[in-house]
Symmetry: C2
């Protein structure tokens, strides 16, 4: 694994970093396909939006892509995790007036999961819910204890993912993927204005679907709607589109629309070779 801290090889940060103290930062997880990062501009745009929302001072994004590319292996598919924290500060929630953001990059080899891509994955329903917070909704920030607790519910079981609900019982996402339903009235994906992470691939899939003639409705999605959907699939920037082939004890087949979208997404990058 390659690790960079503020552009330099290294794997240590200060204990005074506010990313550690308060989860005061954001991250992106991206695929590198033979030295190219698909949707880089979208990842960078989301990162920038998230930092602005948290009022984290600008970090050195100029040259960031070049500095990452220098370490990519063109013979491999790799996973890049880019974390930006507010930087170091003294004890206390209020940030100091001047903080220098910390940028952390890890690059590791990607293990392909062709079975998940082709046949879909078994998914459970999590008890740990998302708390609702409009000021943080949509951001991929570092306060992820809810995701940790939700993941612990199924990590020892035969499920590859878990659907998380909000405190009102509405489906929001899986722990590391966004969620789509295919119904007889079209595509649906949960509204993320109160909680959840607005994935780069979620946006991209909605655009592709539109180009293919499928409108996506963003709305509150109940457990009942989830259980009654014709097709279900998950998206993220590393896996592209993964069908859900089992939801708790309900067996689903990989649907036609899911497959079409999956293939279209794979034209941008072969998530599964």
């Amino acid at each position: 694994m390659i690790t960079l801290v503020n552009g330099q090889p290294g794997d240590q940060i200060s204990i005074h970093d506010r990313g550690l103290a308060y989860g005061d930062g954001v991250f992106e997880t991206m695929l590198s396909h033979h030295g190219v990062i698909p949707l880089w501009e979208r990842h960078l745009a989301r990162l920038t939006r998230s930092l602005e929302q948290l009022k984290i001072q600008p970090y050195a994004s100029d040259g960031l892509l070049d500095s990452i590319k220098e370490y990519l292996n063109p013979a491999l598919q790799q996973i890049i995790k880019l974390t930006v924290t507010r930087g170091r500060g003294p004890r206390g929630y209020a940030p100091p007036e001047h903080c220098e953001a910390t940028t952390i990059v890890t690059i590791s080899e990607r293990a392909q999961n062709s079975s998940a891509w082709q046949q879909g994955i078994p998914v459970t329903l999590c008890n740990t819910s998302y708390s609702m917070q409009t000021k943080l909704a949509g951001l991929k920030h570092l306060n992820r204890l809810e995701h940790v607790l939700a993941s612990m519910e199924f990590s020892q079981c035969d499920f590859d993912e878990g659907i998380m609900f909000d405190s009102q019982g509405m489906a929001i996402s899986a722990t590391r993927h966004n969620l789509f339903l295919v119904t007889n009235s079209g595509l649906l994906t949960p509204d993320l204005s109160q909680c959840g992470v607005a994935g780069v691939m979620r946006d991209y899939v909605m655009e592709i679907a539109q180009d293919m003639g499928y409108e996506t409705q963003i709305e509150n999605i109940s457990r009942r709607q989830l259980l009654n959907a014709d097709e279900l699939f998950l998206t993220n920037g590393v896996n592209g589109v993964w069908p859900i082939r089992q939801l708790d004890s309900n067996i689903l087949s990989v649907g036609a629309i899911t497959s079409k979208l999956q293939m279209k997404v794979a034209e941008v990058v072969p998530y599964c070779e």
Copy 2:
């Protein structure tokens, strides 16, 4: 400042620490008064409870107090921050089966604030609310972005603290203190079963108040109740009891019951010399 990582002098941790990646850990902030840590047993008990709730494997608590005491300066009042994270792990929300907890200690000199102690502090009302999550309520965990955003609301103003509400509009706490109201029906402090941090000093003050003949009701507290209270005060393990002398534009005087409790708490440790 003295900094220890896993008992050894040092100020760096791995970028693979889950405390940084997900805020997967907890912390305590304590006073040291001439080499003694008041309420140490209570702080340790809360830390242990919090770690158990997050299913973080036992850390090396044996000898922890001795190893901290070795670095305390008996001539000073100091602030000790003790952070315990789940430790290092690979990328992914689900913790690996075996994680070794990371223990971080910082010891810094305490700047006394005798004005806050004697005359109270001006406090505002924050817009940033607590999200409600029963699985994390009460814990002093590392997911503190809401506290960061709330603190940023008043850090440039003439207020020393801000009251945070839950998403239902109930008062929960200040950003770094618990909250008490004195009313004609006795002492009140917010119910923390949905959100907030259950402070060690909050418990201690409730016990002391009981010994003095004042029962504390733990309940939902509305904005109206807050604004109509006879006396208001804040508590934490570093400051003891701080009266509120101003709530936004409302001027309050330091009340008789607040002063009595404050003096009683100061018998355990002179928070203000």
